[in-house]
Structure formats: structure tokens, C-alpha cells
């Protein structure tokens, strides 16, 4: 009796062992998950193997056709232009620079002012002196040509406007000189016409002359200009637009519409959505030209 019980017990243990360890079972291959989607047993899904989402997005952008359609508005976006090479700029104001040119040329009553570029140079040399005191290693602030110095030398030498244009653009293309932003044209050159015009008009003002008057720009005498009547609740206003032409700088457009490059910021402020900075002007941009009270 006891033998039978022990034998049954051993047999039960054996069966239990078979159930638990399954020595003869084939390797389990799960081909479906509970939702019925096959799982590949070779592909490990880990974070590292997960494709980079930002690179996917970039790939999607680059794979897109040149013309993309904004889904929200249905408007066709123009392809992004490849930016032209632009000269180095700094935040020196053209009027400050011109003022210093006139002062250097000995115009009566014109006192030199500290341009932002000079202030930057001064603070940098102070910083370098501080670092030098701490490290004991001498560092030299590289001398750079300034636009002022080039203009003064050229005017003293009696160069023609064309020669001045060549000299300045060569220096700017070589990266030797930084220019005020409003002198940068839509094709990446330095607008020396505006530069010289500004010297003349500031010289006239310094000599007691009158400030330039606001010219009467009309679509007939200004290429790229357009006037539209915008109906408002109480009245109708004429809105002026100007399409940037090749070779335009913001300073030149300001002269066209306001008589002086000093009004560039009126145009810049009105077109901030389009222009990231005054030197980022591109052919074909349609600028709003506000009216100013004379």
C-alpha cells in the first residue's frame, strides 16, 4: 500500500516537473501580440534604436518639394532663398560714422562722437587687460581698418565715387571692415551711394543748410513702388508698397521715400515681420512704406 502511494507521489512529481520545465517543448515563438500585430523577434525596440524624431522631421522638410503649401491657409510658400554673402556689419550708426568723417575732414562745428564700434573696441581692450592681468599672457587686440578711415583716406585722395565704391567693397568682401547695417544691399554689397549721399547731406546741415526735403515718390517715377487704396471703417487710406530691387539697401530706400537714410528705421519698424535686421534685405521683398508727418 505504502509502495503504491509513494509510486503515485513520485509519478505526480514527475508530471508536475514536466508541466513546469517542459523539456520537450519547442522554443516558443510569439508571432502575435494580443492585438494581432505580428512582432518581429529580431528587432529589439530600444530608445537607441528609435529613429531620431528631429532628424526625421528634417528629412521630411528636405524631401518636400520646393514649393510647400501651408495647410492652415492654403497659401503657397516661396522656397527659401539661398542667402547672399553679406559684408560684416556692426551696430555703428551711419550718422555717427559720417559725423566722424566730417570732423576728421575739419568741418567747422562738427565734433567727433564715440561710435558703437569704438565703444566696443574700448571695452574689449579693457577686458583683455583684465584677462592679461590674471593669466600673465599678453594678448593683442588686432588692429582693423575702420570704414571711417577708408572713407577719409579716399576723400582726401580725391578718389571718384566709382573708385570709392571699389575700395570699400573690396575691403568689405575681404572681411577687413564692418559697415553699418543699412548700407548692405539686397545683393550683398556695400551701398556707397548712400554713404556718400549721407556725407553730403550731413555736411550741408553742418554748414547751416536745410535738411533734405521729403521727395514725392510716385509709382510713375519709382520702379517697384505700388499704391493701394485700403478701405477703412471711416475713411480710405493710400498704402504704399515697395518691392526691393537688385542693389537696394535700406538706406537707399529711405532716401527714395524720405530724402534721408536716417529714416531707415521708419521702414524697418514697419516691416519687422519681414526683415530680421536692417541688412537682411532681399530682392523681391515687398515692404510697407509708412507715411511720416513732415
Amino acid at each position: 500500500m505504502i509502495r503504491t502511494t509513494v509510486a503515485l507521489f513520485v509519478f505526480a512529481l514527475f508530471i508536475c516537473g514536466l508541466i513546469i520545465f517542459r523539456p520537450f517543448a519547442e522554443d516558443d515563438v510569439v508571432v502575435q501580440d494580443p492585438l494581432g500585430v505580428p512582432i518581429e523577434d529580431t528587432a529589439d525596440v530600444t530608445r537607441a534604436a528609435t529613429p531620431d524624431i528631429s532628424s526625421l522631421a528634417q528629412a521630411a522638410v528636405s524631401a518636400a518639394a520646393p514649393l510647400t503649401i501651408e495647410p492652415a491657409t492654403g497659401l503657397v510658400e516661396a522656397p527659401r532663398r539661398i542667402d547672399v554673402l553679406r559684408p560684416n556689419t556692426d551696430d555703428t550708426r551711419l550718422s555717427d560714422m559720417t559725423n566722424n568723417v566730417l570732423a576728421e575732414l575739419g568741418f567747422a562745428g562738427v565734433k567727433p562722437v564715440t561710435t558703437n564700434s569704438q565703444a566696443q573696441r574700448q571695452s574689449t581692450s579693457e577686458i583683455l587687460a583684465g584677462i592679461e592681468a590674471a593669466t600673465g599672457q599678453q594678448s593683442i587686440l588686432e588692429e582693423r581698418d575702420t570704414l571711417e578711415a577708408i572713407v577719409i583716406a579716399a576723400l582726401r585722395a580725391g578718389e571718384t565715387d566709382e573708385d570709392i565704391d571699389t575700395i570699400i567693397n573690396d575691403a568689405a568682401a575681404a572681411g577687413n571692415v564692418a559697415v553699418p547695417q543699412i548700407l548692405v544691399t539686397s545683393d550683398g554689397r556695400v551701398d556707397t551711394h548712400v554713404l556718400l549721399n549721407n556725407i553730403v547731406s550731413q555736411a550741408q546741415i553742418a554748414a547751416g543748410g536745410t535738411a533734405p526735403t521729403i521727395p514725392d515718390a510716385t509709382p510713375e517715377n519709382t520702379q517697384g513702388m505700388e499704391v493701394r487704396v485700403v478701405q477703412r471703417a471711416t475713411d480710405a487710406v493710400q498704402a504704399r508698397f515697395y518691392t526691393v530691387q537688385s542693389g537696394d539697401s535700406l538706406g537707399a530706400i529711405a532716401i527714395t521715400f524720405f530724402g534721408s537714410s536716417a529714416y531707415y528705421d521708419v521702414i524697418f519698424e514697419a516691416n519687422k515681420g519681414l526683415l530680421s535686421s536692417p541688412d537682411r534685405i532681399r530682392v523681391g521683398q515687398r515692404l510697407v512704406i509708412p507715411r511720416i508727418d513732415a
Binding site: 577686458i127 584677462i131 590674471a134 593669466t135 600673465g136 594678448s139 587686440l141
Partner: protein, 207 residues
């Protein structure tokens, strides 16, 4: 037995005498000052021994308007270590003393002239933006060298610890981000988040 008691008493007295002579306000239990050299000049940083001292003047202010003086995150940028006062002192004792590091005060020159951490060098954060055409000159002074194609090689550039006014000032993080965008390696940068206010708050020496 009596001899033993006397000796114990003597030792107690000796211990009391030494502790009375030592400082009451130490940097840590085992460190009462921090000494480092910078280009031959020796600086010693201790703590204010007046246990009743409190913050005075501008750095006693708690509620600067935000914006612009908003509370800054703990991490300035990926890969940039955040320092407390002890790490700053360690940096000064090792990297700066070895001539391989600099402590940068990125506040404006007026604030720096008023007072700063001993050994700090003033590089206002505004001068590290890409709008400063002399930025490369500053980076060269910090040990970067010209490399091919208008770039800079930062292999031998100084390790920098950057601080500004306090946890309410974004200037240090702005400076770090500008340095990173100029190509400065993140592992060479550290952020002392507490800045001038935290330094003064624990009574550390200023110059």
C-alpha cells in the same frame, strides 16, 4: 590615578585653548581658509567672523522684478557642471592656481568694480554675443587659437567658471550659451549659480 586626572584636565584645557584661538566661522569643519594664486598674486578667502553679520545693501534684496531678473534653472546647458561655493574654491585652488582656469564675472564693469570674488576676471556677458566683432579677440585671450577656415581651436583654452549677480540673474547662463555657440567646449565650462549674492550670503571674502 591623580596623575591621570591631571593629564586629562590638561588635555581638555589644551583642546579648549586651541579651539578658542581658531576661527568660529570656518569654511568647512576642517578648512578655515582657501588660498590660491593667480599669475603670482596670492588670494586668501575666509569667512566673516562676525556671527551676527547679515547681508547689507543691494544683495540683501529678495524681490527683484521678473522679468528680467527671473529665477534660473539648476543646469545652465547640457554638459556644463553647476558649482556651489566649495567647488568654486576647489576650482580656484587647482585649475586657476595651475594657470589652466579662470573665474569669469560676467556682470557689467560697474558692478565688477564695486566688489567681486577674489581672483575673478570681468568679461561682461554682452561682449560674448556674436554681435561683438571683437569676440574672437576675447576668445583668443582665453586660450583659443585660430584654426582652419575662420574657426577657433579650443583644445588648450582655459576652463571657465562663470557667475553673475545671483540665482535671479540670467547673465551667467546667457554668457555660457554665447560661449557654447562660439564653439567653447561644454566640459570646459562651469556655472556658479549662486553668484555674487550666495558668495556674500555665507560671508566669504570679496575684493
Amino acid at each position: 590615578m591623580i596623575l591621570f586626572q591631571r593629564m586629562a584636565g590638561l588635555m581638555c584645557a589644551l583642546l579648549l585653548a586651541t579651539s578658542a584661538a581658531a576661527q568660529d566661522v570656518r569654511i568647512t569643519t576642517f578648512k578655515d581658509d582657501s588660498t590660491f594664486t593667480l599669475n603670482g598674486r596670492t588670494f586668501t578667502v575666509t569667512r566673516d567672523q562676525n556671527t551676527a553679520a547679515t547681508l547689507q545693501g543691494d544683495f540683501a534684496r529678495t524681490s527683484r522684478a521678473c522679468p528680467p531678473n527671473c529665477i534660473q534653472p539648476m543646469i545652465a546647458a547640457t554638459g556644463v557642471a553647476t558649482y556651489g561655493e566649495l567647488e568654486v574654491l576647489g576650482f580656484m585652488e587647482t585649475k586657476v592656481t595651475d594657470g589652466a582656469g579662470l573665474l569669469l564675472d560676467v556682470r557689467n564693469p560697474d558692478a565688477f568694480a564695486t566688489s567681486s570674488i577674489p581672483g575673478a576676471v570681468n568679461v561682461p556677458f554682452m561682449t560674448l554675443t556674436d554681435e561683438n566683432r571683437f569676440r574672437k579677440d576675447i576668445l583668443r585671450a582665453l586660450g583659443a587659437v585660430d584654426a582652419a577656415g575662420d574657426t577657433l581651436d579650443f583644445t588648450n583654452a582655459m576652463s571657465l567658471t562663470v557667475f553673475s549677480g545671483g540665482v535671479w540673474s540670467s547673465d551667467a547662463i546667457t554668457a555660457i550659451n554665447n560661449l557654447l555657440s562660439a564653439g567653447y567646449p561644454a566640459r570646459k565650462l562651469s556655472y556658479y549659480r549662486g553668484g555674487m549674492q550666495a558668495w556674500l550670503h555665507v560671508g566669504l571674502t570679496v575684493q
